[in-house]
Subunit: 414 residues, 3 copies
C-alpha cells in the first residue's frame, strides 16, 4: 500500500532538515579538529576561519552557487548564475509532486558546500592570511564547487555518463582536497617544518582532546551527510537504504580506526592518535561515494583501506614537502579517490572507467582552477603572513589576542 503523498512529502523534507542539521554541526567538528591540531598561537585564528567560512559559504551558495549547480543544467556544464529565489510566499505544489519542500532541499545542499571549504582551512592553517583565505572560500562556494557539482548532482554531463558518487567522495571531499593541495603549493610550507637537510620536523598540535572531540563530531555529523543524501525518507525502500547507509558509514569509520591502529603499531611500534583520528575520517570519506550498496564486512574493508592510505599518504606528502597541517589531503583527497574507485566493487551500476573519468575530470578542474584562483589572490593581496608574524603566531598579529591567554606560550598573569 503506498503511503499518502502528504506524509511522504513531510518525511522527505524532514530527512533533509534533520540530516542537514547534523551536517551543519560538522562545522563545529572541523573547528575543533583544526583547533586541536594547530599550535596554541594559531588557535583563535583557526576558530575564526571556521565560523567565517561556514557563514560565507552559505551566503555565496545562496547568492550564486545553488542555481549555478542545479538550475537548468540539463546534461551540461553548469546552471544559471542567479541568486536562489526561495520565496516564502510561494505556494508549494499542491499535489506534493515536488516530493519535498524547496527550503529543506536548499538547506541540505547549503551545508554541504561549507564542508568543502572546511577541508581547505585545515591544510593551509598557521600561515595563510585571513581575508585572502576567505576570498578563496567565496570563489569556491560561489563558483568552483557548484560548477563541478552541476556535472553530477545537477544532472550534468558526468551524471549522464553514469558516474556514481552517492554523497560526495569526489564531488565534496576530493574536490576540497584538490583545492587544498593547490593552496598548499601556493602558500608553501610552515617555517621550520622542513629544514635544508631534508629533515622533517613534526609540529604537534596544541590539544589532542579537542582534535578527538572534533573527530567524534564529524563522525556524528556524517550520518546526516550520507543518510540525508538518500534525498528521501518517504518510502520503505528509502528507510531501508538509509538504514544500510547508517550501518555502513559507522563501520567504515571503525575499519579506518582499527587499520590505522594496527598499521602504526606495526610500523612505528606505537599507535599514533592523530593518525588514528584521520583514519576514522578516511574511513568515512571512503564509504561516502557508495554507502548504500556494500555489506557490513565490505564497508569495514573499504574504510580500512582508507586508513591504510592515510598511513602511507601522510609521510609521502611530507617527502614532497607539501605541508598539510591536519592531514586533510590524505583524508579527503586520497581516500576520496579510493572511495570513488571502490563503488563498482559493490554496485553493479557503476563502472571503474567512468569512475576514473569522473575523478580525473573533477580533479583536473578543481586543482587547476584553484591553482589559478590562489595564484591571482596571491599576486593581488599576498596569501602568506610575514615570517615575523608566523613566528609570533596569527592570533597575536591578525587578531590581537590569544586563544589561551592565561597559559601556553603567552602565559601572563591577568
Amino acid at each position: 500500500m503506498p503511503i499518502p503523498s502528504e506524509t511522504t512529502y513531510i518525511l522527505n523534507s524532514f530527512s533533509f532538515l534533520i540530516h542537514g542539521v547534523l551536517v551543519m554541526f560538522m562545522a563545529a567538528g572541523f573547528a575543533m579538529l583544526e583547533a586541536g591540531l594547530v599550535r596554541t598561537k594559531n588557535v583563535a585564528t583557526i576558530c575564526l576561519k571556521n565560523i567565517a567560512l561556514y557563514s560565507l559559504a552559505g551566503v555565496m551558495f545562496w547568492l550564486c552557487g545553488y542555481n549555478l549547480m542545479y538550475l537548468d543544467v540539463g546534461g551540461g556544464f553548469f546552471g544559471t548564475l542567479l541568486p536562489w529565489a526561495g520565496d516564502t510566499s510561494a505556494v508549494e505544489t499542491a499535489d506534493y509532486s515536488g516530493e519535498y519542500t524547496a527550503h529543506s532541499d536548499w538547506f541540505f545542499q547549503m551545508v554541504f558546500v561549507a564542508t568543502t571549504a572546511s577541508i581547505i582551512s585545515g591544510t593551509i592553517a598557521e600561515r595563510i592570511k585571513l581575508w585572502p583565505f576567505l576570498l578563496f572560500v567565496a570563489v569556491l562556494a560561489g563558483f568552483l564547487y557548484p560548477i563541478q557539482g552541476a556535472w553530477q548532482w545537477g544532472g550534468g554531463w558526468l551524471a549522464e555518463m553514469g558516474f556514481s558518487d552517492f554523497a560526495g567522495s569526489t564531488i565534496v571531499h576530493s574536490a576540497g582536497g584538490w583545492a587544498a593541495l593547490a593552496g598548499a603549493i601556493i602558500v608553501g610550507a610552515r617555517k621550520g617544518k622542513y629544514n635544508r637537510e631534508g629533515r622533517i620536523n613534526p609540529i604537534p598540535g596544541s590539544s589532542l582532546p579537542l582534535a578527538t572531540l572534533g573527530t567524534f563530531i564529524l563522525w556524528f555529523g556524517w550520518f546526516g551527510f550520507n543518510g540525508g543524501s538518500q534525498l528521501a525518507l518517504g518510502s520503505a525502500a528509502d528507510a531501508t537504504a538509509i538504514s544500510i547507509i547508517y550501518a555502513n558509514t559507522n563501520m567504515a569509520a571503525a575499519g579506518g580506526v582499527l587499520t590505522v591502529m594496527a598499521l602504526t603499531q606495526l610500523i612505528y611500534k606505537r599507535v599514533d592518535l592523530s593518525m588514528v583520528l584521520n583514519g576514522a575520517l578516511a574511513g568515512l570519506v571512503s564509504i561516502t561515494a557508495g554507502p548504500d550498496t556494500p555489506q557490513v564486512w565490505q564497508a569495514i574493508l573499504i574504510g580500512g583501506v582508507g586508513g591504510i592510505i592515510v598511513v602511507f599518504a601522510v609521510p609521502l606528502l611530507d617527502k614532497l614537502r607539501i605541508d598539510d597541517v591536519v592531514g586533510a589531503i590524505p583524508v579527503h583527497l586520497c581516500a576520496g579517490i579510493w572511495g570513488t574507485l571502490a563503488v563498482p566493487l559493490t554496485n553493479p551500476g557503476a563502472h571503474l572507467m567512468t569512475q576514473l573519468a569522473g575523478i580525473l575530470a573533477v580533479g583536473a578542474f578543481m586543482f587547476f582552477a584553484s591553482l589559478i584562483v590562489w595564484f591571482i589572490i596571491d599576486r593581488l593581496f599576498g596569501v602568506r603572513v610575514s615570517e615575523e608574524e608566523e613566528f609570533e603566531g596569527m592570533d597575536k598579529v591578525e587578531l590581537g589576542l590569544e586563544a589561551y591567554p592565561e597559559f601556553g606560550q603567552g602565559s601572563q598573569k591577568i
Copy 2:
C-alpha cells in the same frame, strides 16, 4: 488529501521531542561559551552553575512554572499555581484531538526556560555567589519567566493584542537579558574591570576554542529552538514552514558573523573573534521573533543588523560601567528587541506599535521584578563574593578545586 490523524499526532510529538533535544543541548553550548570567556580561576564554577541552573529550572518549571504559564490563562496575566500533573497513566485523547502528546509539549517548553536562565549566568559570572544565583534562577524559572510567557504563549493579554514573537526574541531572549541587566546592576562590575580614571580593562577569556565550540553548539541547537516552535510537523504546511525557518535561522547567524567581521575590521583594523561569536548569536536572536516569514536575503539582513548592534552595544555597556562578562546583554537583550521590532518588516500580521508595546511590557516587568528579586536576595544573603575571594577565584573559594589544576594560574605538579 489529509493525512491520517494518528500520523499527524506522532509527527507533531516527534517534532517537539527531537527539536527539544536540540534545545536541551544548548545548555552545553552556554556552558562552553561561558567557560571559554571567563578566566581560568572561575571556569569550574561557571560549569557548575550551568548544569545546576538547567536542572533547577526544569524542576521549578514542573513545580509551578508550566501551569502558571499555560493553565487557564484565558487572555489574562497568568495561569494557575499548580505542579504539572503530567500523568503517565492518563489515556491521551483517543481521537488525537490533542494534536500532540502532553509530555512532548511539556518537554519542549521546559527546555526553553533553561535558556532564559543561561543568559543570566554569563553576564554576572566571576563575582556572584553560587547559591544566591541559584535562588534567583528558581524564582525566574518558577515565576518571572512563566508570568510574562503566559501573556503571549499562554494566550494572555499580549497574544490577544496581536503581539508577534514566534520563538521568543522577547519572551525568552530579551526577558533573560533584562534579568541579566538587573543582576549586573545589583552585583556590580568585576574588580579591575573599570578603574577610577574611567579606563576599561579588557579581561580576556580563558579558552577561545571552548567559546567557539559553545557558539557552534548554540547555533546547532537553535534549529530546534526555532524549528520546534512551529509546534507541529503533521502537515505539508508545517513542513514548509519549518524548512523556511531552518534556512532563515542559519542565514541570520551567517549575516551576524559576516557583519561583525567587516565592522570590526573597519573600526579596529582587526577582526575580534569573541565579537564574531556574539555576532552569530545576535543573528540567531534577531531572527527568532519571526523566522518563518522573511526571504533568505531578508534573514541575512535581519541577522546582520543584529551583528551591528553587538559591535556598538558592547562598548556602550562598558561606558555605562555595566560589566557583562560574555556580552549576553548586547546579544540577547539588544538583538532580541531588534528582532521583535523587525517582524512587521516581513510579516503583515504584525504591527510596529504592538511589537513595541510587547517589548516594553515584558521589559518593564522583567527588569523591575528581577531588580526587586536580586535586591531582596542581596539583602538577605549577599550576592557578591568578597574581594579576596574574587581575587583568588571562585573555583578555589566556593568549590575548593581548580578547573585546570595542572596548568594555568594554579599550576602545580601532582
Copy 3:
C-alpha cells in the same frame, strides 16, 4: 484509525536511526568526560582508548555479538555464534511485518555495546596498557555483553522470568560496572592514590570544562538511549511512551544534580563539581531501567536517590581501595542496581524479587567472567604499565606524544 503500515515501518526505523545516532555521540561524551578527569599526562591515551573501543566494539558486535544476543535464543542462555548477515541485497519483507528495517535495529543495538565498554575505560584509566585493554573490550563486546543481553533482550530466561529492564540499567550499565570493578581489582590502584597509612590522595582531573562537556553530551545522548529503547515510533501509543521517557530521563538527571549539590554542600560545606557531574549521570542510569512508567516527580526522586548513592559510594570505594578514576562504578554499577530495583515502585508489571534475581544473575556472570578474562589477559600479557611508565604518563610512553605539548607538565617551546 490505524496508520498505514508503510508509515509505521518508516517511523519505527527512523526512531532507531536517529536515536542510535544520539547514542553513538555518547562515545564523544565518554571521551570528553574521561579526558577531563584524568591527568594531563594520560589524556591522549584515554582519547585513543575511547575511539578505539567504540570501533572495536562495533566490529566485534557484528562479528559475533549480535547473533549471539538475538538469533534463536528462545528462552535460553545465548543465541548463535555467527557474523550478522545484514544483507543489502535482501528484500525486506514486502508486507512490513518486520516492523522496522534490519539495519536500523542492528545499528541501534550496536551503539549500545560500545556504551558498556566505555564505562570500563574510565574506571581503569591511567595505568592499564592499551592493547590488553582492547583485548578485554573485544571479549566484552563479542561475548560477555551479548550473552547476558540474550538472557533479557534476546528473549532468554530472564525475560521469560519477567525481569524488567527497559533500556539497560542492569544489562548495559551495571554490566559494564561489574566488568570495570573486576578490572579495577586486577589492575590495582594508581600509584600514589592510597598511601601506606591509609590516607587517600585526591588526584584532580586535568580539565573540568571537558568533563562538564562530556556530561552534557551523555545527557543529550541519553534521550536516544532511553527513547529509542521503546523500539517503535509508529503508533500514537509509542509517541506517548517516548514523550514520557524523554521527560523522565531529563528530570531524573536533574534530580541527581540537585541532590548531589545539596548533599555535598551539607557534608563538605562545598559543592563538588565532579561529584555533581556524576550525579547527573547517576540520575540518568537510575531511570534507565524504567523511564516509561514514573510520573515526573517520581523520576526526580529516582534520579535523586541515584545522586545520593554516588555521594556515598565514591568514598566507600576509596575505603575499599578500589581506584575508580572517573567514578564509573558508583554511577553505572551502584545507580544501575538502584534503578533496576526501583522499577516495581512505578511499574506494576515488575516484581522486586525478579528484579533482584536479574541483578544478581547479571552481576555474578559479568563480575566473575570479567575477572577470569582480566586474569588471563594479565597472565598472558600483563595489564599494567610499569611504575616508571605510570610516573611519566601513558601518553609519552605508549603513544610517544603529549595531549597538550605546549603547556601542562611537559611544557616546552616549539
